[in-house]
């Protein structure tokens, strides 16, 4: 795991995304964000609502324009103006699963079309039969019956819909899947189905995930490495277990403390740690993005880093 030689699939460097046309309304939803994702891993991104998670995801699939920074996929820069060929390839190789299974499926199209949509676009089939076969296979892959092809999305439950959403990305044979809160709209029982499916697919197809969520218990279960983002800035990044064991940044800690536990006794004794962004004193001493222990990065100024190190030693 600590092998520095692992292949980096996606490298995001100093990414900045701004919204708002006029100078007055302009603000950076994502500010100087850097991270990389290894091939085959599940990389998590957590943070409160509006912190810029979706924006990062969308910037990677090029739904949002980037203001500065680079997104490098398999060694090629894919943000900004890119050629047609590369565009096609990237479209195919990076896919996205959307948050809301109710909203992300075209209600007026049959499952058949929804799943084949990507195929039509990249035309990687030779005959109608082959397309059918591919679609059916994708459906089976996500545990749905081929007979569902002729139905409409509103006939499915949330979990099934989300699986259709996954099936449609699978036909593209992607390498990186950006899963933008794929489970937050689902209830517990269905949530498990989808998570299982995602891990299963990862195993069988060697997929890489960028998994965006705010449910930390899920994130802990599914991700290998985890970045915590707050107001457009990544504040901490580490291997998941390491992060859960040694959360350094106050925001991370508050986030972890808030995880609801399905255990009445413990949950009722739980103490919240409340994060106050005002606790930082960045005026004279701007924060830096520092690897504080192997594969564990944190954002902090000198004083804070000192404290963090001290805490690490305590453990």
């Amino acid at each position: 795991m600590h092998d520095g030689q692992r292949e980096i699939l996606l490298d995001v460097r100093n990414l900045r995304v701004e919204f708002g046309k006029s100078k007055k309304n302009r603000f950076a939803a994502v500010d100087n964000v850097s991270f990389h994702i290894y091939k085959g891993e599940t990389f998590g991104l957590v943070g409160e609502s509006g912190s810029g998670k979706t924006t990062i995801g969308r910037a990677i699939v090029r739904l949002n324009e980037t203001t500065a920074g680079e997104v490098i996929f398999k060694g090629k820069k894919i943000n900004g103006d890119i050629g047609k060929e590369l565009d096609k390839e990237v479209t195919r190789k990076i896919q996205m699963i959307f948050q809301d299974p109710m909203a992300s499926l075209n209600e007026r199209a049959k499952v058949d079309y929804i799943v084949s949509e990507g195929l039509y676009n990249i035309k990687n089939y030779k005959s109608e039969e082959e397309r059918k076969a591919k679609v059916e296979k994708a459906l089976m892959d996500v545990g749905l019956l081929p007979e569902f092809l002729s139905r409409f999305p509103h006939e499915f439950s949330g979990g099934q819909r989300q699986r259709i959403g996954i099936a449609r990305t699978l036909v593209m044979e992607p390498e990186l899947i950006i899963a933008d809160e794929p489970i937050s709209a689902l209830d517990v029982s269905i949530r498990a189905q989808v998570l299982n499916l995602l891990s299963e697919l990862q195993k069988s197809k060697g997929l890489t995930y960028l998994f965006i969520a705010h449910d930390l218990s899920v994130v802990r279960f599914i991700t290998d490495r985890l970045a915590v983002i707050h107001k457009g800035k990544i504040v901490e990044l580490a291997e998941t277990e390491k992060l859960f064991k040694n959360p350094l940044h106050p925001y991370t800690r508050s986030l972890l403390s808030a995880i609801p536990l399905p255990d009445p006794k413990r949950e009722k004794e739980k103490v919240l740690e409340i994060y106050d962004p005002g606790c930082h004193d960045y005026k004279d001493d701007p924060p830096e993005w520092i690897q504080i222990e192997p594969e564990h990065f944190v954002l902090g100024n000198h004083k804070e880093l000192e404290q963090y190190r001290a805490r690490l030693c305590q453990r």
């Binding site: 739904l63 959307f98 948050q99 075209n106 006939e155 449609r168």
Partner: protein, 322 residues
């Protein structure tokens, strides 16, 4: 409820019911679904509305009738002038009787056949204009709403076209082309799509940023297909409603054009012409039938299309299918 009571309740039941049932994974998935076809369900929802069904039958019969009417036995020609055998002159303003079911007009033409021929003309205009409005309006409206770079230019073009008085265009048209059915249709088509385009555009702007469209974009779906597959199907119901209204609107507009003198030549019977001719006779009791019959037919057509459009709009929404 106590356990004892429960026991009593199930005493009569076979003991071997308390064995495990077989569990089928696939069956569990299937639970609760029926087979389903979109158009069939749409149709079913539609015909469940008795009024709509009745009107549909009525309109079908009406349209069929306008088509076959000339071929029925004993039908008169809509433009033929009938001569009164007694005076040897035109059979003017002959009240309805067994020979002339709806009477004759002021030059002795049979109103029964004129009304059907007029309905035929007006429906033809209405449907042609309606279809064109749908095609042009939807195409332009969709591009206008969906393709962001086109928004401003088309908006400007729209503002310009919308503010040029239609009358000028109509007068120029009839001047250049001579009044006829096709001129009328072309004239209405020239301006009719504007409203539709704007309507479609507004609808598209509402749904264009929905997540499923982003999803399609991620899959690399070209704009054209996003429009036809992702956007328009959502608009089917409202577009149908507008289409349904476009037909009576076209007829109503024809009445207006006739009123300001830009209508069809009087020799081509149309509901617009018949009503305009009849209007002058409103105060003339004995001749009022010349207004009432076409007005009834026109109202019937309008109401039918309006109601059917509404019901169809509901029915076309798959969420309303059970």
């Amino acid at each position: 409820m106590s356990n004892a009571k429960v026991n009593k309740l199930s005493d009569g039941l076979n003991e071997n019911l308390f064995e495990f049932a077989e569990f089928d994974d696939k069956e569990a998935q299937r639970a609760g679904y029926s087979n389903y076809s979109y158009w069939r369900s749409t149709w079913q929802v539609f015909i469940r509305n008795k009024v709509a069904l009745f009107l549909l039958v009525l309109m079908t019969v009406l349209i069929l009738f306008t088509i076959i009417q000339p071929y029925l036995p004993d039908q008169k020609l809509p433009t033929k002038i009938y001569i009164d055998s007694k005076t040897n002159m035109q059979l003017r303003n002959h009240p309805p009787d067994s020979e002339f079911w709806f009477g004759t007009n002021s030059i002795g033409q049979d109103l029964w056949s004129r009304i059907w021929s007029g309905t035929r003309t007006s429906l033809l205009i209405g449907i042609a204009v309606g279809i064109w409005e749908a095609i042009a309006g939807i195409m332009i409206g969709a591009l206008w709403g969906y393709v962001r770079v086109l928004d401003r230019p088309i908006t400007e073009i729209y503002n310009v076209l919308d503010n040029i008085p239609v009358t000028i265009i109509l007068i120029l048209m009839t001047y250049i082309m001579r009044p006829s059915l096709s001129t009328m249709i072309i004239a209405m088509c020239m301006t009719g799509w504007l409203g539709m385009a704007r309507f479609v555009r507004n609808l598209i702007v509402i749904i264009r940023d929905r997540e499923y469209n982003l999803a399609s974009k991620c899959l690399g779906t070209p704009t054209g297909r996003i429009i036809t597959k992702n956007l328009l199907p959502y608009l089917v119901s409202v577009i149908m409603l507008r289409m349904a209204l476009a037909i009576p609107a076209a007829i109503g507009y024809e009445v207006f054009l006739t009123y300001i003198g830009l209508g069809l030549p009087v020799s081509i019977p149309s509901l617009g012409n018949l009503i305009n001719e009849g209007r002058a006779l409103m105060m003339v009791k004995s001749l009022r039938y010349q207004l009432i019959f076409p007005a009834i037919v026109l109202s019937m057509v309008t109401i039918s299309f309006y109601v059917m459009g509404n019901v169809f709009a509901d029915a076309a929404d798959p969420r309303n299918h059970v």
